[in-house]
Symmetry: C2
Subunit: 160 residues, 2 copies
């Protein structure tokens, strides 16, 4: 059961997105993370200004929220994003163990503004060999297992 | 046509992954970014030590490489990862416009060590309504278009 959303938080994310364009700071994307009915962190797209291709609004907001909490998960938090999170950002929300995502514009809207989100979703639905995405090739599979063997055997690991 | 891979760079990524477990710094993942036949940046998983759920080895390496180049894309660079990049990291490599990805262990190997990468790939193949992943709900679609309209109209945007 999806918990109820508060559209005011989404309006804040949309305002951040528009402001980010108006100031010339970055792409038209904003995100807000809410916990216990209050804004815990905000983020805007800073890819170009920060020289960081991962600095989407949602990733920035997730990083800020985790820092604010001093925690590596965001269980109990909800993400409000001005636009449907791309696969990178949706996956980040998943890894952060967030409760829910609410978004305004769709990936198709983003495509009409020149962004590749919809393409990326389509590509991830395909088998790796059929993707037009950058090629990903496995090598040294057996050697690579050694890292996981070390992890499994480790007595002092912090599971996450 | 996939350019040829140099297994020594992948061995370096695997060594970083194993070392990261042995020092207790984080999960069993390492990544190396190569440009013009030389290592430009390296990364290890620092999710728990940095309180950052996005701090996978590949994301850390991509962020470091972009910082080193002073650029927001990594065209001409290849990613070597000790394990098949999760959808977050593969998408990050895509957004960074990298040339190729080479990996050692598979997402299924990661699953055997307790990580959710294979689950996340499976979920992203489904229609949103069928996902067990955190729910993502659209609201205020028309209001949200305003940010893209501002972007399209902006004279001083930096496309990325």
């Amino acid at each position: 059961m999806q918990p109820s959303a508060n559209p005011e938080f989404l309006r804040r994310a949309i305002a951040l997105a528009t402001e980010n364009v108006e100031t010339g700071a970055g792409g038209p994307f904003g995100a807000v993370i809410v916990r216990d009915g209050r804004i815990l962190a905000e983020g805007v797209n800073t890819v170009t200004v920060a020289n960081d291709p991962t600095a989407h609004a949602e990733v920035n907001a997730i990083r800020a929220a985790a820092k604010a909490l001093g925690a590596f998960t965001l269980a109990g938090c909800r993400l409000y994003s001005s636009c449907q999170p791309c696969p990178m950002c949706l996956s980040a929300a998943y890894w952060a163990r967030m409760d829910a995502v609410y978004y305004g514009a769709s990936a198709e809207d983003a495509a009409r503004a020149g962004f590749d989100d919809a393409f990326l979703y389509d590509e991830l639905r395909k088998n790796p060999a059929e993707r037009k995405l950058l090629p990903a090739t496995q090598l040294l599979g057996e050697e690579a297992w050694a890292s996981f063997a070390a992890w499994i055997a480790s007595a002092h690991k912090i599971a996450y």
